[in-house]
């Protein structure tokens, strides 16, 4: 074995030494989530490493809405999905248009507006929750899912514009010039040249906004108080309002709630990495 391979092996060993504890640390809560979800009610807090009689009964109860905390499970899951998809789509539309205008059309003042939008991140979103509540109330949008959609789009857009603008800047300007000479109007340029080349970044940004909305609790809790309009995330939170909460059902629902983001992440992982790091280094 040469010195070079020896060094490589020892380097990998060091990485594993760090990686394995980190992986265990990360997976531990998920292990407990699964453990709870598979345990019958009376064994849920027994402290065993694996339940004596693992069961899917909890899932069946969730699916059949057999508990008053879960009486709108399917509707709330649908609400979560609808809101997340709407936030992803609207954010994409707004951010892509803005990035195109700022980066490609070089609209005067575009960069200043982008920086102003990014400036909003200096204030934690939690502090903006009450002003946002007041705004939505004065527009009569409280309890309408539009209020949450608009709030999440507001939060997701500045970062999305920034990411897309960085990615846009990397497209050669000659492409736009060639298209202009070829006879493309700005809209044709956008549709036929810009969008196809931006696809990886678009997927990444759309996924980011979608997951942001899917995982949102605070704004959903504040803006949507009706059980029939709120999201599953808020419904999960309401489990904690009682003393004798059915933990096994909470965990089973939580596991289900975590599946769509995981699926989306794995489906678009390839794009996420290349998209979110685009613009990070000068190539």
């Amino acid at each position: 074995m040469s010195a070079w391979t020896l060094r490589k092996v020892s380097g990998e060993a060091k990485l594993l030494l760090i990686g394995i504890p980190v992986a265990i640390w990360t997976l531990l809560p998920i292990y407990h989530l699964v453990l709870f979800a598979l345990s019958p009610r009376e064994q849920a807090v027994s402290g065993k490493l694996w339940p004596d009689h693992p069961t899917l009964h909890n899932f069946s109860m969730v699916f059949h809405e057999q508990h008053h905390y879960l009486s709108h499970f399917w509707l709330q899951l649908w609400n979560s999905l609808l809101i997340a998809v709407a936030v992803g789509a609207i954010t994409l539309f707004v951010a892509t248009s803005a990035a195109f205008a700022i980066s490609r059309l070089r609209v005067r003042g575009g960069r200043a507006i982008m920086n102003l939008a990014l400036f909003t991140y200096f204030i934690p979103a939690a502090f903006l929750a009450v002003p946002m509540y007041k705004t939505m109330s004065s527009y009569g949008l409280l309890n309408s899912q539009w209020s949450l959609i608009l709030a999440m789009v507001t939060i997701a857009t500045p970062y999305s514009i920034w990411v897309l603008k960085q990615a846009s800047d990397k497209l050669p300007l000659e492409l736009d010039e060639a298209a202009r000479i070829d006879g493309a109007s700005p809209l044709q340029l956008f549709r036929l040249v810009y969008l196809p080349l931006m696809t990886p970044s678009l997927v990444a940004v759309g996924t980011y906004a979608l997951l942001l909305a899917w995982n949102e609790y605070l704004y959903a809790f504040l803006l949507l108080s009706d059980d029939r309009s709120t999201t599953l995330g808020v419904a999960l939170g309401s489990f904690l309002s009682a003393d004798d909460s059915p933990w096994e059902l909470l965990m089973a629902t939580g596991l289900l709630y975590a599946l769509p983001p995981a699926a989306i992440y794995y489906a678009f992982k390839r794009y996420m990495v290349s998209g979110l790091t685009a613009g990070a280094v000068k190539s």
């Binding site: 010039e177 202009r180 000479i181 070829d182 044709q188 196809p196």
Partner: protein, 358 residues
């Protein structure tokens, strides 16, 4: 096909004037090369003609129509970029047919035009490939194909060969020239490479610092440059320039250089005895010999290239390049005598750079 007119064209970038009132005409079907060192404004001028840069002053007309306020897409021009600027997500055929697609042309017509252009450029087997699957030369041909499909009034080339290796550049140079001879479309070609300019152009426009130094056919520029800049820019290896003082007797004239060397001149030169001049002689106008007026020189380096031999020699304090046909057995350190072809010698006023008639 169309003529192109530039009238007092100016360009200002944020208060800095980069093009200073340029005027010249390009005839219908002419192949005109804009050449000059980088930063001379040649690309800016081309981009103004293309409609990619605004015209700060003066007018540009294509086919008799002033285009200052006409959008690029309505100027009926096609441009080939240095970076090719192919759409990476489209096949070769789609790249070439894109302009017609935007014009909502008939699919059959588009396919015919693309096939025709592909045949001219030998791109037939590659029509369904993507740009990333092509070599640099093939990409450049696709960029040309995109221009041909347009059948525009004017072709614009912006340093199209700069990204290619030396061998391919020579091949593509010939292809572009052959293409022009076949299509006879008015062409404006920008390059910093004077060899490209010399070999391809019907007429060359030499630019420097946003101004035109001289316009002419390649051989006019080579034989009768207006000034020192053009003299040194055109021709490879560059013209030798010797600074000295003009001397004349009853029937002869010569330039006395620093170090005492005497460079012979035709007696007809219109300059007076004692005048400071820059003496220009092309490397090919010098030959090994031993005539009465021969200039003694010391050989520094001998560079045989096969058909020709390039000698770097020292005359007085000045280094001179000599290109001779065939081979030589002289070596470094030896002293040789240089015969000067006096008919091709040029003399310039060193203060203004302007040529003095000989």
């Amino acid at each position: 096909m169309a003529s192109v007119l530039f009238r007092n064209v100016e360009k200002t970038f944020g208060g800095t004037k980069v093009i200073h009132g340029i005027s010249f005409d390009i005839a219908d079907g002419e192949f005109t090369v804009l050449v000059g060192p980088s930063g001379c404004g040649k690309s800016t001028l081309l981009r103004m003609l293309a409609g990619l840069e605004e015209i700060s002053g003066g007018t540009i007309a294509i086919d008799g129509q002033v285009v200052n306020d006409v959008e690029s897409k309505d100027r009926d021009i096609a441009m080939v970029f240095q970076s090719y600027a192919l759409y990476p997500h489209m096949t070769v055929a789609d790249n070439m047919g894109f302009s017609l697609k935007l014009r909502k042309a008939d699919a059959k017509l588009t396919a015919d035009r693309v096939a025709h252009a592909a045949k001219i450029l030998n791109l037939g087997p590659y029509l369904e490939r993507f740009p990333r699957e092509l070599s640099g030369g093939q990409r450049q041909r696709v960029a040309m194909g995109r221009a041909i499909v347009r059948d525009p009034k004017v072709f614009l080339f912006d340093e199209p060969l700069s990204n290619l290796d030396a061998k391919l550049r020579v091949a593509m140079r010939a292809e572009i020239k052959a293409l022009h001879q076949r299509l006879k479309t008015t062409t404006v070609y920008v390059t910093h490479d004077q060899v490209e300019a010399m070999t391809m152009a019907d007429r060359i426009v030499v630019m420097h610092d946003g101004r035109i130094e001289q316009i002419g056919t390649p051989l006019e520029l080579y034989d009768r440059p207006n000034n020192l800049f053009v003299a040194q820019f055109i021709g490879s290896p560059a013209m030798n320039i010797v600074h000295g003082t003009l001397r004349r007797s009853a029937d002869a004239a010569w330039v006395e250089a620093e170090g005492g060397a005497r460079w012979p001149l035709p007696a007809s030169v219109s300059a007076s005895d004692g005048q400071a001049v820059a003496y220009g002689v092309r490397p090919g106008s010098l030959a090994l010999g031993g005539g009465a007026a021969a200039v003694p020189a010391e050989v520094i380096v001998v560079e045989p290239t096969g058909a020709e031999t390039e000698l770097l020699v020292r005359v007085g304090a000045t280094q001179i390049v000599v290109v001779m046909h065939g081979r030589t057995d002289t070596g470094p350190g030896e002293t040789i005598a240089l015969d000067v072809d006096q008919a091709s010698v040029l003399v310039f006023d060193p203060a203004t750079g302007a040529a003095i008639r000989t």
